[in-house]
């Protein structure tokens, strides 16, 4: 397969044409997987012997946390593509992903607080994992604010791309700094392969399904938002062109 052919999808027109077909499939698949995963997780899994029914919030919490980080990774990759190859769709996709990622971070934080209240007896603790997500949230906030503040689209794309690169380094640094700063309450990664801590298959399968659902949901939302950004950008370009002609 010719990898270069992939770049033709960076053409805005081609992107819109392709996503016209992909988006409905993706959206319906997301709805279906989410419905299956969440219903299965909520109603057809046994209660945990220690945590009771509260454990079931995991089917929202873990996939949201997963997407919160992966959204930033996606922004990092698309920012790099913009810097190196200067495809406008790439920059707009990064812009489109940011609010979705921010909401995912928020969901992870809120569901975590709701879960933490019965489990640890507190809504919030300055635990490394919790703090890292709060920091990630602030990075999303700054990134989105910078996009909104700059009028020229290309300038905004360049500046936010560089902010994303620098921010990634500092987010990683903060992650380890926070680890150093406080030893936490949070359990290790829920899907770790270490024996003894492993989750039972009964819980794990619906979790995988919800995670797939969240991934599909994320892709669908980013596609919708990228299409909107492309059209908005196109509209601004047309208005500017009319103004020039006048």
């Amino acid at each position: 397969m010719n990898l270069n052919a992939l770049w033709t999808y960076a053409n805005p027109k081609k992107f819109i044409e392709t996503t016209d077909r992909v988006l409905p499939v993706c959206a319906w698949l997301a709805a279906l997987t989410l419905a299956v995963g969440l219903v299965w997780g909520f109603f057809f899994t046994p209660d945990d012997f220690r945590q009771g029914a509260t454990v079931k919030i995991i089917y929202l919490h873990v996939p949201a946390a997963l997407m919160a980080i992966n959204a930033w990774l996606m922004m990092l990759v698309t920012s790099l593509i913009w810097i190196v190859r200067r495809h406008h769709v790439s920059a707009l996709a990064a812009r489109a992903a940011a609010p979705v990622g921010m909401v995912m971070t928020l969901i992870a934080l809120v569901t975590g607080a709701i879960w933490g209240q019965p489990m640890w007896g507190t809504w919030w603790a300055w635990d490394p994992r919790l703090t890292s997500f709060l920091i990630l949230f602030l990075f999303y906030l700054g990134y989105i604010a910078l996009w909104e503040a700059i009028e020229n689209d290309d300038t905004a794309a360049d500046l936010t791309a560089i902010l994303c690169l620098v921010g990634s380094v500092f987010a990683l640094l903060s992650r380890y700094a926070v680890n150093f700063w406080s030893q936490g309450l949070h359990q290790g990664a829920s899907l770790s392969v270490r024996p003894g801590e492993r989750m039972d298959m009964v819980f794990k399968l619906p979790l995988y399904v919800s995670m797939a659902g969240f991934v599909l949901l994320f892709v669908a939302l980013v596609l919708v938002r990228t299409r909107t950004e492309i059209r908005a950008r196109r509209m601004r370009a047309l208005v500017a062109r009319e103004r020039m002609r006048a």
């Binding site: 920091i135 602030l138 990075f139 906030l141 700054g142 604010a145 910078l146 503040a149 700059i150 300038t155 360049d158 500046l159 560089i162 902010l163 690169l165 620098v166 921010g167 500092f170 987010a171 640094l173 903060s174 380890y176 700094a177 926070v178 150093f180 700063w181």
Partner: protein, 218 residues
């Protein structure tokens, strides 16, 4: 480059240069803390390292938008960009000038304010050491933020929003050094990490700042 540094320092000293403003702000923040938390010596001694670090950080933040905005407004930045000085050098010198006019006075003033907050005696040396090592990173990171927001009409608030998350690792390690120093623990590890962050930002961030500034100038 030396000419640029000399000019920036001279501008800061002259009337309206804002030299000492950060220092006054630092003083006021530190003086306000006991009013907020009460005058108990033991409590103040415990939170003193953190408060001093936070105050220094906020005082630093206050003057960031002056690093590049003034040169942007009067067109000097355009002219500097077309001069023989490399852009990376320009932003490095700007950061250095900011540190000399803001960071360094904060480092020197911190022990005096430490007395006000009842900082335990062994903490003074480590507080100064951590600030001396950490404030250059604050200036360099701040210059990056200033370069990002230089073209914006009201970039001040956005600047804080962008820069504060980037300040987090420096604050964590810096305050940790000062805290461990004050409590008589070994502050070697966070001190090494703080030095690492400072060296890393000084070495790498000017390239990002220069790239951002070039984008903003075109």
């Amino acid at each position: 480059m030396i000419a640029l540094l000399a000019r920036d320092l001279r501008l800061a000293m002259r009337a309206g240069g804002g030299f000492g403003l950060g220092l006054a702000f630092f003083l006021i923040v530190v003086v306000l803390v006991p009013f907020g938390v009460g005058p108990q010596g033991a409590l103040l001694a415990r939170i003193a390292p953190g408060i001093l670090w936070l105050g220094a950080l906020l005082a630093c933040l206050l003057s960031l938008d002056r690093i590049l905005a003034l040169d942007w407004e009067d067109g000097s930045l355009d002219l500097l960009a077309t001069s023989p000085l490399p852009m990376e050098g320009i932003v490095s010198v700007k950061a250095l000038a900011h540190w000399l006019t803001t960071g360094l006075p904060l480092v020197l003033a911190a022990p005096v304010l430490g007395i006000l907050l009842n900082l335990p005696a062994p903490g003074f040396g480590w507080l100064v050491a951590s600030l001396a090592l950490g404030t250059p990173a604050l200036s360099v990171i701040g210059t990056f933020g200033a370069a990002l927001t230089v073209g914006l009409k009201r970039g001040g608030l956005l600047l804080s929003l962008l820069v504060l998350p980037l300040y987090m690792p420096t604050l964590i390690f810096g305050a940790e050094v000062a805290r461990r120093g004050a409590e008589g623990l070994a502050p070697g590890t966070p001190l090494a990490l703080l030095a690492g962050i400072t060296c890393g930002t000084i070495a790498l961030l000017p390239f990002a700042s220069a790239a951002v500034l070039r984008v903003n100038l075109r």
